[in-house]
């Protein structure tokens, strides 16, 4: 058992939560789209810019050395946080989307051939669909998806069926941003690898909520975004097994990623991780992400998960009283996300009316259109919870939804 999280004291660390929206105190339930930032993260980024910003690597001056050390320390923090074997297996990217595109365009273009099968699931975020579709089109390969059961869990029989197609790669989300479903990433990875697939896991919605150990999972790639883990915008992480990364060609060319550049005699590339980090990196972001992950460790990621699960259960209970309520995603053990539609109302209307009561939820397809198709809905209302949310906020949200539905229906 983890220790119970003290949401009230956690909240104090998030300056934005003091503000009003439309004349009402802000109730921020859009964590899955982007998390708010604790003061420690905001100040770390500011500190950096105020006191030791300089371009990293190659600099002989003290400032550059200081920035480089902080930047590389942050890489070490990420490495330890996700249980990677070495810091050089942690590649900075512009975000999870950028990280997936890096894998697709470097590993994918090297390894996927005409006729190959790329396996994803029907609950993927567009970021883990579209790049593969683009690759498939270029190479004459095809994208297949594992179906999703009515409760939002993965159809494991269909997964086994699809493995018979011998997919070259299996790319799946650890936790669904729309359904909250937590996939058994370790088991899926083992089965897919046993069937000969390289495995990429989209960790955007897991790293904020769960302890991750990429070595225990055994996956070849793991990606996540800084802005969803209480960290900065514009920064993401690609973890890759050293051997896999080493065999991949570079993707972006430029400074930092080279060894020798010659126009007449050709160019040679640097080793890991620099081979994949062309150009000046997002230095302030990397440092801030290190602080964000340290902050999560300080609160305790198990406590965060328990807290969010408790909030989600409370929300579901409250919302259940609404006539015509349909939850999208009801698998057991789901993470802190509640997605729903209500008969004879449009998600956009509910979202707008909640907003006017100060409650921020997300409405729409959540970048998972294939899931909307699957459930035959134009979109859902999604409330998603973070460490800083409280039971009282959930009550405000539930009451606001009840009121909104009444207004829309009457």
């Amino acid at each position: 058992m983890s220790t119970a999280l003290d949401a009230a004291s956690v909240r104090l660390q998030f300056p934005i939560l003091n503000r009003d929206v439309n004349g009402k105190p802000l109730v921020y339930l859009d964590h899955a789209a982007s998390s708010q930032k604790p003061i420690a993260v905001i100040e770390a980024q500011r500190e950096y810019l105020m006191h030791y910003h300089a371009n990293v690597h190659r600099g002989v001056h003290a400032l550059s050395q200081q920035a480089t050390d902080a930047f590389e320390n942050a890489r070490g923090t990420v490495q330890r946080h996700i249980g990677a074997a070495e810091p050089c297996e942690v590649i900075w990217t512009a975000g999870a989307t950028d990280a997936i595109n890096l894998v697709v365009q470097s590993w994918g273009r090297q390894n996927i051939e005409a006729g190959d099968v790329i396996l994803i699931t029907r609950m993927e975020h567009h970021a883990n669909i579209v790049p593969w579709q683009m690759l498939a089109k270029e190479k004459g390969a095809r994208v297949e998806a594992v179906d999703v059961l009515e409760d939002g869990s993965l159809d494991l029989d269909h997964f086994e069926e699809q493995l018979k197609l011998h997919p070259k790669v299996f790319a799946f989300t650890h936790v669904s941003n729309t359904l909250g479903t937590v996939n058994d990433a370790q088991a899926l990875t083992q089965r897919a690898q046993a069937a000969g697939a390289t495995v990429l896991i989209d960790g955007c919605q897991s790293v904020p909520h769960m302890r991750i150990d990429v070595q225990a999972l055994g996956c070849d790639f793991y990606v996540f975004s800084g802005h969803k883990v209480y960290g900065p915008t514009g920064l993401g992480v690609l973890y890759g097994k050293r051997k896999v990364l080493e065999a991949m060609p570079p993707w972006r060319g430029g400074g930092e990623m080279i060894d020798v550049v010659s126009i007449d005699n050709g160019t040679t590339y640097a080793g890991l991780p620099h081979k994949f980090e062309a150009g000046t990196p997002h230095i302030s972001g990397a440092i801030a992400l290190g602080v964000a992950l340290t902050w999560i460790d300080g609160v305790g990621v198990e406590s965060i998960m328990d807290h969010e699960t408790m909030l989600a259960a409370h929300a579901r209970k409250g919302l259940s009283s609404i006539e015509g309520m349909r939850f999208i995603g009801t698998a057991p053990g789901a993470a802190g996300v509640v997605s729903f539609v209500v008969d004879a109302t449009h998600p956009y209307d509910i979202g707008t009316l909640l907003d006017s009561q100060g409650v921020a939820v997300r409405t729409g397809h959540h970048c998972t259109q294939p899931l909307m198709e699957r459930y035959g809905v134009p979109g859902t209302v999604r409330a998603s919870f973070g460490a800083y949310n409280t039971l009282q906020e959930v009550d405000t949200f539930v009451a606001g939804t009840v009121r909104a539905v009444r207004m829309l229906r009457d």
């Binding site: 109302t345 449009h346 956009y348 009316l353 009561q357 729409g364 829309l408």
Partner: protein
């Protein structure tokens, strides 16, 4: 400036002055949405569809006997539909030239301009643009 246009906008502004908070305003918008006839399913054609990212808007237009433009609008979201109803009320039945040049100041006056921001994903902004295009087109068509 067209008197009708100004008068209609003034009326709406007065109508909204009553409301004490956002929820009351939306209550009224929702009511307007419900009262709007909308389009029959068979007229919800792709050619009339303005796709917002979140809600969809249909807009049809025709010229009446006097040469004025008549609009029909609909949306799958009721608040969007209510706002569309306001647009139709303000611009409907006006001569094409006036529609093309209309300054729709009432929207920001009643505090609902955020719904018309080009970054808003509801399709309303595109609907207004489309109404003006109809104005221009009918004007050109004589």
């Amino acid at each position: 400036m067209n008197d009708t246009l100004q008068q209609r906008q003034n009326e709406i502004v007065e109508e909204f002055e009553f409301f004490e908070d956002w929820m009351e305003k939306y209550e009224h918008v929702i009511e307007l949405g419900k009262e709007l006839d909308g389009l029959a399913e068979e007229h919800k054609l792709d050619e009339n569809l303005i796709r917002g990212c979140q809600s969809r808007v249909w807009l049809a237009a025709s010229k009446d006997a006097e040469g004025n433009v008549q609009f029909q609008a609909d949306s799958d979201a009721i608040i969007t539909k209510g706002l569309a109803a306001l647009m139709v009320r303000v611009l409907g039945g006006l001569p094409p030239a006036e529609i093309a040049q209309a300054d729709l100041w009432f929207i920001s006056k009643i505090g609902l301009d955020s719904h018309l921001s080009p970054t808003r994903a509801n399709g309303l902004q595109s609907m207004v643009t489309q109404m003006k295009h109809y104005g221009i087109a009918f004007q050109a068509a004589g």
